[in-house]
Symmetry: C2
Subunit: 498 residues, 2 copies
């Protein structure tokens, strides 16, 4: 382990150098976020290459493989670089659909894996709600409460993002009905009827969500998901209210008035939908929204919109629930994206997963279930993921990674603006906060050609919305990586424009 | 690691001895499933003890803790014994709600954790649907397909049991609608309407389930769950058809005629419900059932019932889906509980989790989605769990653990019958397959007193149904453990009866 430990200190030193002295030119020449990382991408075959194609064919005898891009040699991945099974190495700006916080094979995670005191946590998965491990409280504190959104003091772990959303919704439903009972005990009629799935035990309640949102793929999460048809087609889903999410015009400073009007229109729709579902006897028990709609197209709204949304939630005495599964854990330059909004008070629930390595949600006291076994399942998450998360959180703090994200992100965004200005018919709406950036291409086909050519030249990126490219790098991305990307992006776009 | 490896071979040798020569008397004197295991339970405090109570109080500032029994020192757990933080050691016959296959800190799992070639799998969690790891196909084959239920050649991993059920339901809905389309392509109206959660894209479809069943705690899984009110109260759930699950009378051989009539009644209800929901324009797209209703009270039915259920499913051309989350992975003495039934053909879907360490489901070809991203989420499970599962599966085969389960189970069941015969007013309906056993107590309060006193004397057990005790030991439980339990059980019951 000695060699790997020394890598870790290198990472810190180099990074600090970047923050203190870095300019784009210096960064390009000197900075590497990880001495073990390759100097740049290396691609020698089509992607997927012959071995990937063979493995895809084999896997296809076991399950549908149409979403598979290529097979990965995770042992050979390092830092911001992903290695495929055909010997190609790509700069990874998509990172397992935005779920790799500090790069591949980070020495701190490898260290944590090898520590004797962690072994029992890896091999004995507990039923956390009944038999929590000795160090569970301290793990919750060190890994989760140490970065909890201000004002939220309760936390529940879950195995994935979808379950976090489903159980958050349940917390809202429980709180709604408790308030409605006004202190009277649960009736035997409620208890009997709920077992049959009927009222009054199982009431008509809904959650308000937004067009183009994505919150997960189980039934309750699909009730608030509207991003793409393969997610929903053929599934019976609840008929819940859906409002428009703002469609901002860019550049923002030229369209301030129009965008304000658009956000007011969407807020008005929210009010209208809440009343409509009240009239349908299916009252809205809460509002769920992504700080930036991701799968739906990297759609941003201004703080004004979210402040307005919170006002509406408060007027109706219902919780505002933020799905920070993709935006959380630092990639916007703040630990939680909603910290950019200057809300009057904390949101009521914040869900997380992906880069947090464990699913779960923070919530306010008033959403805490009073009875046992209400928010419950066998595992309720996995403590071994909190071992890794604690390392991630500590690294973010020690190495001031949020500052790095902000610096790298501004470099990336200015690069994107630059290319967009040179190819206005092809690219538009370069946008982002931190490294959570994206850019629109004139149509879906062209976007897909660009992504394919980028991959062929060593850049792994993802799509979203109808014709957007989304950047979801690790928190360790530096200006030098951005420069590598921009060179290749420029060449791909230039070739396309010939 | 040398010492630990030698433990492993000891385990095998001793076990083989048991199977070949074991009699109850010999077993009691000689057999220990693991040389590192304590000789028996040791309890020195109330349970929860003072340190557990302190930790519960602390955890209660972060989340509701009403379901917590005690805090566990997982480093000190071994084999079939669970150690709490107060220095107590209990024989664990509940094993994290039936989710520990081969005991605590098993040397094979510890070995697998420490292997260099597994490190990348533990620290880099992939988005399996897009970037599967190099060894993914072989892991699926070695860990999952090597034990797939006969006739099911497709498998999909998931993070937990609930997600396995939800996505199985989706596979059924997709297949149902595809058949209804009769080969015509998906229409633009379907695509548009599904994004709004309306028909025809989101059709009215249902899943038929059984009273007292439990299949999970997200909305779609709650639609088929009817076990206990804390699971469902206050939640909007779909109005889907629910049929009675047989209530068998014991002893079975005395009530053969009555039980057959009861099963026919339940099958008739299934038919009736399918027709009723057809008339409601909410057709049944599939049937879900547990081989043994677990949380609902360890309710058994005979092979005749399940054969009849399969016949009904085939008549209506809908899939039969078995939730083997709790019954799977060997504890009934066969790898899958439905292997006891002699079905005419394989069930269409088999869901798993718990002892399988990963969630997921096996399914037949006709349920395979044709398009990409249909059964999908970010992680789709966790390959590191398959590393452990592969060890579990290999150990089951090498050490003939299914035979051991059968032998230990028959010893346990005969012991339960013996006590029940001596205390007929107190205990009834001793039942089980393999070590998947249970016994009823005259009422819930007495049952809870028994469980509390058992814990105080070193036996950890779980409840289910209204007044049942359920046994969910590891696959390594031996006759000698049963003898330890029976001695203590006998003393608790005798004291109670004084």
């Amino acid at each position: 382990m000695a060699a790997l430990c020394s890598v870790r200190s290198c990472v810190s030193t180099v990074t600090r150098g970047l923050r203190r002295y870095g300019t784009p030119a210096v960064a390009k020449a000197v900075v590497k976020s990880d001495p073990l990382e390759p100097d740049g991408p290396f691609v020698n075959t089509e992607i997927p290459g012959p071995l990937s194609r063979e493995l895809i064919q084999e896997l296809d005898t076991i399950q549908n493989t149409k979403a598979v891009h290529f097979f990965v040699d995770y042992e050979r991945c390092q830092g911001n670089y992903i290695a495929d099974v055909d010997g190609n190495v790509l700069l990874d700006l998509y990172t397992q659909i935005a779920s790799v916080p500090i790069g591949y094979n980070h020495p701190r995670l490898l260290d944590a894996l090898m520590k004797d005191e962690n072994r029992a946590t890896f091999v004995n998965r507990p039923a956390l709600g009944v038999y929590p491990p000795r160090d569970w409280n301290s793990r919750l504190k060190n890994a989760l409460l140490s970065v909890s959104p201000s004002g939220l003091n309760q936390v529940q772990t879950m195995a994935c993002g979808t379950c976090s959303v489903e159980h958050s919704q349940k917390a809202m439903f429980i709180a709604y009905q408790r308030r409605k009972r006004g202190g009277r005990p649960i009736s035997s009629e409620e208890i009997q009827s709920c077992l049959d799935g009927r009222g009054p035990g199982c009431p008509n309640l809904s959650v308000l969500s937004f067009k183009n949102g994505l919150h997960g793929r189980t039934m309750g999460a699909l009730g608030v998901t509207h991003a793409k048809w393969p997610l929903k087609l053929d599934f019976p889903v609840p008929d819940w209210p859906v409002a428009s999410f703002p469609t901002l015009q860019y550049p923002l400073n030229q369209f301030a008035r129009e965008n304000r009007a658009e956000e007011n229109r969407c807020l008005e729709e929210v009010r209208e939908r809440i009343h409509a579902w009240d009239r349908k006897d299916c009252p809205v028990a809460g509002i769920i929204v992504e700080p930036i709609q991701s799968e739906g197209g990297d759609n941003h709204a201004t703080p004004y919109f979210f402040q307005g949304l919170q006002d509406i939630a408060k007027e109706h005495e219902i919780p505002l629930m933020l799905d920070e599964v993709q935006t959380g854990c630092g990639s916007t330059g703040k630990f939680w994206a909603h910290e950019h909004w200057n809300l009057r008070e904390a949101p009521d629930i914040v869900c997380f997963s992906k880069k947090m390595l464990t699913g779960g949600f923070y919530y306010k006291d008033h959403l805490r279930p009073q009875e046992g076994h209400r928010i419950f399942n066998t595992w309720l998450g996995d403590p071994s993921k909190l071992i890794f998360l604690e390392e991630v959180v500590n690294l973010i703090k020690e190495d001031d990674l949020l500052d790095r994200v902000e610096d790298t992100g501004s470099h990336l965004l200015s690069g994107l603006h630059d290319v967009q200005d040179r190819f206005p018919g092809l690219l538009s709406k370069a946008r982002g906060v931190g490294t959570y950036c994206s850019i629109d291409v004139k149509d879906a086909d062209t976007r897909d050609i660009i992504l394919h050519r980028l991959r062929r030249k060593g850049i792994n990126l993802g799509s979203c919305g109808s014709s957007s490219i989304r950047f979801r790098p690790t928190l360790l991305l530096c200006r030098s990586h951005v420069d590598i990307f921009m060179d290749i992006f420029d060449s791909v776009i230039s070739e396309l424009h010939l």
